[in-house]
Symmetry: C2
């Protein structure tokens, strides 16, 4: 199986296929996606827009340059030249088997072919392939560009190498591959979801609860916990000090109680369908699909970032992914070789995120410093202070910052920072950042900073490395003719 | 039913009862909890410690002074004098009926008696009461002090007033009451959990997945979404542009597929029990129950705060709760009348949270300013700049901050800030904050700030109200003899 994957062939460009396209393209892969829908390009590009938006909030880690996405009209055109093939066609076994066989014909045998099926059996899906050993299930969750889980499941004839290759590929995309030990219809996650779903249908059918009430029972209750611990660990904790056996003794008898109707399946007749659709429409209200998707993505990003602060569950997956991105050292967006150094550098753009504002919808104080700190981080990468340099035991630390708040700024406002070097010596960089609204270039705040180069192991100041000093000097020299910015060199005093 | 609730009687002080005790006490209620376990006091006090820890991270909003918790040994002692009674006894119908009847005898009829049962029917539980109309289900989720959901369900003889009173009481505790329209065994949330749980037991029974793998399938996958949107809305979104009817057409047939074994119930024999216990032990590893509880609570807090930035789902519940706390204007912890004003004021204590550190485990720059900003907020409340004052159209804004970073500080370090007023006039307060490690009083950083009083509607500076100026002046006068702190009045320059 291929060690280096550049091109990815996608069979099917619906909700799941488009999600794969976005996730792979954001990780630098070039995509050929086969979809016959005449609107496929528009739909995939809308998913890509959502994905870019979500990732810009998800991480500051440097991503590789995004890959290209090309929509093609045959299975063969998607499969040819691909280093990895992912199928996301409708859940019809016969259709999948016949189209997988066509991809199998044109792809060299060292290319993995994976299927996104939610629950069809891999041994059956691989039955029509000349090279069944390179076929595996890689079952993702919507939105593919944000959800970490991908269930990896081999069929009877899948090789171990294939499972390992797929696992490695998905992990490099920032996902959490769960290698299944057995193939069963519905795999693991969909069996659990399906059980809950059938019960939900009964609750609607019997008028016990509406769609919105069922969702509230989940998201204000057990769903909050399921975001980081599954049922088993949550129940263990619910057992308190005596542990799992005690919990089972307490809760076990409930298995015999009439607490679910799942022994039976509701008939999905027109009446039940109408009820579900009407309740779903009422629940969604005026919100359109893109709006709901963005709301979902914003919540997912907030949860992933929240869990990242605990370095636990999906937060640990994100943390590991970011570490690999930093280590890969993809070039930052600012290129010292190609930029005009005779004016303040435009290093960082962002916007006022919903969580950055106070009850008056104004950006809170500490977020100003965060934005300036992010600009400083970019400056440091530009002058060569990167993870390798950190590992060598050196870094610049901020020892002093003078902030001036000139204008309030509301949630959602687009922002950018420009940075001027006021002076430098072999240990210090005297920096002046200016924060602007990007829509009308109003100056909002300034931050004057002294950066001190330190030996991080000895915790004391020392001279920076020659290649770093050379870059600092190059920018400082270019900035020397610039006027001192208004407000630099100030002290705080009442008599001003 | 009683409009003002001060004392709460709790029947049962296990995991759920202790959680109620903590949530109610943190909201200022005095608690009498009946529990016969000789270790009840220790266990309840450990839950209270966890709850205080979680709430200190959850919100900066001012809480009322915590109520007292008293463990008593009879149902009558818990019920007498209570304004609201909550029963959390073992899930045995006959036991609950007989003990509820004893509480019913001693409590005046205008006191609500609620049961925490996960699924027993209210019409049966109220059958032995002389005043069945004041009985209602209030089914919470573990940990009760953090989870918003409480299912409110009346029996055949429950009055509407009782349901309304219980709903109002739970909402005032920061919870999200879900009023059920019908009584069914297991209510809504537990039916959904039970369905998923039975499927999980089959997966373990059939060796398809282990306890840890099942939990991973949830928390890296559908569980992440269930923290803010339930199954119905998530499926609607998965349907993409064509909507819910289209989704049902696609996914409906799966109901007939063998994607769940829930038509049947696994026999909970010794072999299955042993397997579950062994897998649960392996999953928990060396972590003890308190450690797991704290991990769970930290993740819940991170998710609640993450969702709060989106003002959605449980985050919207937290946001509303905090607004009522701010509006209630509980006195801040610093009391100007009782404090020594002749030294810098110790206004704010915190610690370096896990999410505040960079990859070197050092607190990130912007978090310093956040801690100083929190200290400023306390100062403003102390001088009378509170939500009422804001609503009057006035506030102090930070116009300038000079930060000096003197020492690095690691995750987990306890911190406190002291605040000196360097000068003031009718529009401005010149403040100097010092940040210390609390364990050894090392000075870590300082922040000199100029606060400017503004008419927030006109967006221009103006004099503060006389009662505010009087308090500022009182502190400033007491601070006048203090030495100017080292580092005040500085400008940033290379030649220092």
């Amino acid at each position: 199986m291929r060690a280096a994957i550049k091109s990815v062939g996608l069979l099917g460009g619906g909700v799941i296929g488009a999600g794969w396209a976005a996730r792979c393209a954001l990780n630098g892969h070039d995509i050929a996606v086969c979809d016959l829908d005449p609107e496929a390009e528009r739909k995939i590009s809308e998913v890509m827009t959502n994905a870019r938006r979500a990732w810009s909030r998800l991480t500051l880690a440097p991503l590789p340059a995004a890959g290209s996405i090309r929509v093609v009209k045959t299975i063969e055109a998607a499969a040819e030249g691909a280093d990895f093939i992912q199928e996301s066609l409708p859940e019809q076994e016969a259709l999948k088997i016949s189209l997988l066989a066509r991809a199998d014909k044109v792809a060299p045998p060292d290319v993995v072919i994976a299927s996104s099926t939610s629950g069809l059996l891999p041994s059956r899906l691989q039955s029509g392939l000349a090279h069944p050993e390179r076929f595996v299930i890689g079952h993702p969750f919507n939105p593919v560009y944000l959800m970490p889980l991908v269930e990896v499941c081999g069929g009877a004839r899948t090789s171990d190498t294939t499972k390992e290759s797929a696992t490695r590929f998905y992990r490099a995309l920032g996902m959490h591959p769960l290698l299944l030990r057995k193939e069963v219809d519905g795999f693991v996650a969909d069996r659990l979801m399906e059980a809950l779903w059938r019960e939900a249908l009964w609750l609607i059918h019997d008028d016990v609860a509406t769609a919105a009430e069922i969702d509230d029972a989940v998201r204000f209750g057990p769903g909050l916990r399921w975001a980081f611990m599954g049922t088993l660990l949550i129940y263990r904790i619910a057992g308190g000090e005596p542990g799992m056996r005690h919990f089972m003794a307490q809760f076990g008898p409930a298995l015999k109680w009439p607490w679910t109707k799942l022994m039976d399946v509701p008939e999905l007749d027109e009446a039940l369908l109408d009820k579900i659709v009407a309740q779903s429409d009422a629940q969604a209200g005026a919100a359109g699909i893109r709006e709901l998707e963005q709301l979902r993505d914003d919540c997912l990003v907030a949860i992933l970032q929240g869990l990242r602060t605990q370095d636990y569950a999906a937060g640990a997956v994100l943390d590991r992914f970011e570490k690999t991105l930093w280590a890969a050292g993809h070039r930052s967006e600012f290129d010292i070789e190609k930029s005009d150094l005779t004016k303040p550098l435009r290093l960082h753009e962002t916007r006022v995120e919903p969580g950055w504002v106070d009850f008056n919808d104004h950006m809170t104080e500490s977020r100003y410093l965060q934005v300036f700190g992010d600009a400083t981080e970019v400056l440091l990468r530009v002058i060569g202070v990167d993870p390798d340099y950190h590992r060598g035991g050196h870094n610049y630390y901020t020892v002093e910052t003078h902030l001036r708040h000139l204008r309030e700024v509301e949630g959602g406002t687009p922002l950018h920072v420009t940075t001027q070097i006021l002076g430098t010596d072999d240990k210090r960089i005297h920096v002046f950042h200016s924060l602007y609204r990007s829509d009308d270039d109003t100056l909002l705040a300034t931050a004057e900073q002294m950066q001190l180069h330190v030996d991080t192991r000895a915790s004391r100041a020392c001279a920076a490395a020659p290649q770093v000093l050379a870059r600092v000097q190059r920018i400082a020299t270019a900035h020397r003719p610039l006027a001192r910015p208004a407000g630099s060199g100030r002290a705080i005093a009442l008599d001003q």
